[in-house]
């Protein structure tokens, strides 16, 4: 009996298990899915939680509900992968040998990487929305906020869902407008990048969006420390931004066991071939989703496209054939812009987000890189699609694995 182990039963790992359960013969293969707990979080919902639109019940379902027949869920904290022995060691002493390993352990925030960020103000007037607890705490703080300076700060790239901070700024604008206190709130968006929009076409189409919503951008702001006593963030070149409420997107890092296993870079992301998704170090280890060091976006749609590619390549590797499927960096994301509207973007390693229609050329019905109500409904409907189609690895109608230029304006 051979064994295939998947580390992480989040979006990427669950989809991978679904694909593999359809292809691996249970007579020959045991398929294990490992995670620390039985809570699957709908992470795209974290963006709506602070504004009271989603609650805990919208976000959490049991992981085992999405484990396919033919796969087993193993609950336990991973101590380390031991590639030389082809096995995974759990903290409770169990070891899981593998013939092939898929690492889909994602990434999470590491506020302690920035001086002063995880200090006395954390969850008092400094919040994150990249965890459920953080977004719920932020909801309570926003409900009480009567006015002042709201600062949204990206600590450093790469981060999960790179558009989320911008969406947060837009949704905060709408939230305060609806509460009738927008005129008492200053919204500042501080980013280490050269601007809120860094791709030429997006900048051209959407460049005035922030000014129109009176959101101030502090560009090339690389945070050095948080000064909790003065309620300000200070950049490495000593620019200070005072805040009443700080919404931070802390450094994102891969899982701690990656470091303990000597498999990652300095942020615990795993060096991965950007096309085949095989680990650069080990022939029988593959990496999927946010755990990779790829220049693609860390997002569920990316993991969805990758999972299809990886399924082909894993089956090829098992059969001793060359890996022929190549991932193109495809991502497809709805971006909330507030006021009941959203954008849709579709791009890959080589093609930036372009305007046009999606998914059907000439018909749409979605518009790319343009604010529409339909895109917003698409984003809301995505929760249903996520639980009922995406996690079950059902193909999404009209959305190909490789990005298509059809419908796009070049």
């Amino acid at each position: 009996m051979k064994q295939l182990v998947i580390l992480g039963a989040g979006t990427a790992g669950t989809m991978m298990a679904q694909h593999l359960a359809q292809h691996l013969d249970p007579q020959d293969w045991r398929l294990l899915l490992v995670d620390r707990d039985d809570e699957h979080h709908y992470q795209p919902g974290y963006i709506f939680t602070p504004f009271g639109l989603y609650d805990r019940a919208d976000i959490i379902k049991p992981r085992r509900q999405f484990v396919p027949r033919g796969a087993e869920l193993v609950l336990g904290e991973i101590e380390a992968v031991e590639p030389a022995q082809n096995r995974v060691r759990l903290q409770d002493g169990r070891t899981l040998p593998y013939d092939f390993l898929v690492i889909a352990s994602g990434c999470s925030i590491a506020p302690q990487q920035t001086e002063g960020l995880a200090g006395a103000g954390w969850r008092k007037n400094i919040f994150d929305f990249y965890t459920l607890d953080g977004s719920l705490a932020l909801r309570d703080a926003l409900a009480k906020f009567q006015g002042g300076r709201l600062v949204i700060n990206i600590t450093e790239m790469p981060i999960k869902c790179p558009v989320a901070p911008l969406e947060f700024a837009f949704l905060a604008d709408t939230f305060f407008l609806q509460r009738g206190i927008r005129h008492k709130v200053e919204i500042i968006y501080a980013t280490p990048l050269p601007g809120a929009f860094t791709k030429p076409r997006a900048a051209k189409e959407l460049g005035d969006l922030l000014a129109r919503k009176n959101i101030k951008v502090e560009a090339e702001f690389a945070i050095g420390r948080v000064e909790g006593d003065k309620n300000q963030i200070v950049s490495w070149d000593e620019r200070a931004i005072p805040f009443d409420l700080l919404v931070s997107i802390p450094t994102n890092m891969g899982a701690a066991f990656v470091e303990r296993s000597g498999l990652g870079d300095e942020l615990n992301f795993i060096p991965t071939d950007k096309h085949t998704l095989r680990s650069k170090k080990h022939e029988n280890i593959f990496v999927l989703g946010d755990a990779t060091d790829l220049p693609s976006s860390k997002a569920g749609s990316v993991a969805h496209f990758q999972a299809e590619i990886l399924t082909e390549n894993l089956l090829a590797a098992i059969a001793g054939r060359p890996l022929e499927a190549t991932f193109d960096g495809h991502a497809n994301c709805f971006v909330e812009t507030g006021g009941g509207k959203a954008l849709l973007i579709d791009f890959n390693y080589d093609v930036e987000p372009l305007p046009g229609v999606f998914p059907l050329p000439g018909l749409g019905p979605m518009h790319l890189l343009r604010e529409t109500r339909l895109n917003h409904w698409g984003k809301l409907m995505f929760k249903w699609i996520y639980w009922n189609m995406l996690l079950k690895a059902r193909p999404l109608p009209f959305i190909p694995v490789h990005m298509s230029m059809a419908g796009k304006q070049v």
Binding site: F197, E220, D237, D265, K274, P353
Partner: protein
């Protein structure tokens, strides 16, 4: 995309002068770009940073953040800003012949 003649070289650049093909890069081009950016000579310290950025970009497809640049290259942040006045992430990327720091949109 525009071509730009810099010193004795013709290179492809984007609208802001960032090289489109990092394989066209060499030290002489780096020196010429640096001079246009107001850095008269590239010292060993400049080159340490530039080489580190190129290595990261070629390995990962993106340049490092300021925090990682400091932590991994061994050049202190204060010195980094002194070496590349006005913002090391962007300026050092330009001199290193790699793409400017960007998000997905």
């Amino acid at each position: 995309m525009p071509n730009k003649t810099i010193g004795a070289f013709t290179i492809e650049v984007d609208d802001e002068g960032f090289m489109l093909d990092h394989t066209q890069w060499n030290r002489d081009i780096a020196t010429a770009i640096a001079q246009q950016e107001g850095i008269a000579t590239l010292t060993d310290r400049h080159l340490l940073v530039v080489d580190f950025m190129r290595k990261e970009f070629i390995e990962k497809g993106t340049g490092p953040s300021i925090r990682r640049l400091t932590k991994e290259s061994g050049v202190e942040t204060k010195e980094l800003y002194a070496l590349f006045p006005g913002g090391p992430a962007k300026k050092a990327a330009k001199i290193a012949g790699i793409k400017k720091p960007a998000g997905c949109i």
